[in-house]
Amino acid sequence: MSRTSRARRELFERILELVREVFSGRVDPFDVNVVQLASRLREEFPRLRGWDEINLDLEAMIGLAGVVERQEEWIEHRASRLFVDPLLVALKVEVMDLKELARMFLRAWRPIVEARGVTPAFLEAAVSYWLELPPASERGEVLPEPRGEQDFEPLWKEQEFEKRLMLEARRLQMALDEKEGEVSYSDYLRGKDPWDSAERAYLLSFLISDGVVSVRRDPATGELFLVRPRGSGDSAGSIVTWMDVGGEGHG
């Protein structure tokens, strides 16, 4: 390959790379000097050798047209009512507390309402789950029968639930105070019986969602710990895990 041919190829590659950067949002479309690059392509056009170079030239030209399109979109956006400086948005987000940000979001949110029924896609997923499910005998002990008549009744009435949630939060704070801000997740959940543990885990899930406590995983052992939220960054989280509440181990 001659020197001029290599230089030409580098020009095409540089333009195509620039176009990719613009399309991915990493480069502002107005940072690209479209006129100058198009002039360079025009100068090179009569010297193109072979289909490879013609194709690359075409791709580069189409790319530059795309950049112009992005510039037009950018101007339209700036002229629209939605225009806000992205830096200002990032700054606002950075100084806001997570809870404050979420509560502000709620004021602009109207979620879709839908009921889920049995659909062909649902049946397909159910069949595949059933086929992959190991026999119950291989999955260890199942939970005991539900106590009393609470089968499909809510476990607690709303006021009772809020009261229990508050008590659980207080109990958790005491445990964290005692253990210098970090309590083993499985130790904390271990109750006097499996139902007690399940109730505690249920309440804990709300405390985690509300950002009262956060969860840390020890990367070395994989063990989970309940910790106080550190700064705004850790103010909420959730965890899905399983543990053998009747036995010794946990997973």
């Binding site: 399309f23 991915s24 949002g25 990493r26 979109e73 950018w74 956006h77 009512r81 939605l82 225009f83 806000v84 400086d85 992205p86 200002l88 948005v89 990032a90 606002k92 987000v93 950075e94 100084v95 806001m96 507390d97 997570l98 809870k99 404050e100 940000l101 979420a102 509560r103 502000m104 979001f105 709620l106 004021r107 602009a108 949110w109 109207r110 979620p111 879709i112 309402v113 839908e114 009921a115 889920r116 029924g117 659909t119 896609a121 709300f206 985690i208 969602s209 509300d210 950002g211 700064g231 705004s232 960054g233 850790d234 103010s235 909420a236 989280g237 959730s238």
Partner: protein, 191 residues
């Protein structure tokens, strides 16, 4: 004649119930029903049926929205191609949302992503969003949250970057969100 009017009214009631079933029960991978599906099932007066249903739903805090394929609110002329959804009429309170599976940090992340993407003209790179979220959340949580938001349809990711998804266009009043964000004092909870 009175009997005929009674039959007509009963027919309309039946159609309103049918429309409610179609709109509330998800039958596709994504929620929402196309205008032409509603027209086929409810007849030519489907717009009247939808208006009646919307009035009924208002009593329990819901509403019907119609979105054109590009995400705008559809005009009546565009109803055939539009997709119809039932949404909350007013924004929910946190206690209503607490049991829905969304965590407070995920909602905050969604607010931040939608605001930044909108401010950037509809597209931002994944790295930009990750950098923004890492300033608020533990680093390890960020990719998982972004993936969940993409899967739920709030964000849409292509080779060209991340934009807002179909669900954001239906559920979120982006203009209002930006005005709330810019109008916020911002540092009330800052640490």
């Amino acid at each position: 004649m009175g009997e005929a009017r009674g039959e007509g009214s009963e027919d309309l009631r039946r159609k309103v119930r049918r429309a409610a079933h179609m709109l509330l029960l998800r039958s596709h991978a994504k929620p929402g029903v196309k205008g032409w599906e509603l027209r086929r099932a409810l007849g030519r007066d489907y717009k009247v049926v939808l208006r009646l249903l919307d009035e009924e739903l208002a009593d329990i805090g819901f509403r019907i929205v119609a979105k054109a394929p590009d995400g705008r609110d559809a005009s009546e002329e565009e109803y055939g191609e539009a997709t119809f959804y039932v949404t909350f009429r007013e924004p929910p309170d946190w206690p209503e949302i607490r049991g829905s599976g969304w965590r407070i940090d995920e909602l905050a992340a969604l607010a931040a992503c939608v605001a930044l993407i909108s401010a950037k003209g509809g597209r931002a790179s994944r790295e930009e969003l990750e950098d923004l979220l890492k300033s608020k959340l533990p680093e390890w949580k960020v990719p998982g949250i972004l993936t969940r938001l993409v899967r739920a349809g709030y964000l849409s990711e292509t080779d060209e970057g991340v934009g807002v998804g179909w669900r954001t266009r239906v559920e979120i009043d982006v203009e209002h969100l930006l005005s709330l964000l810019l109008g916020s004092r911002g540092a009330t909870g800052a640490r």
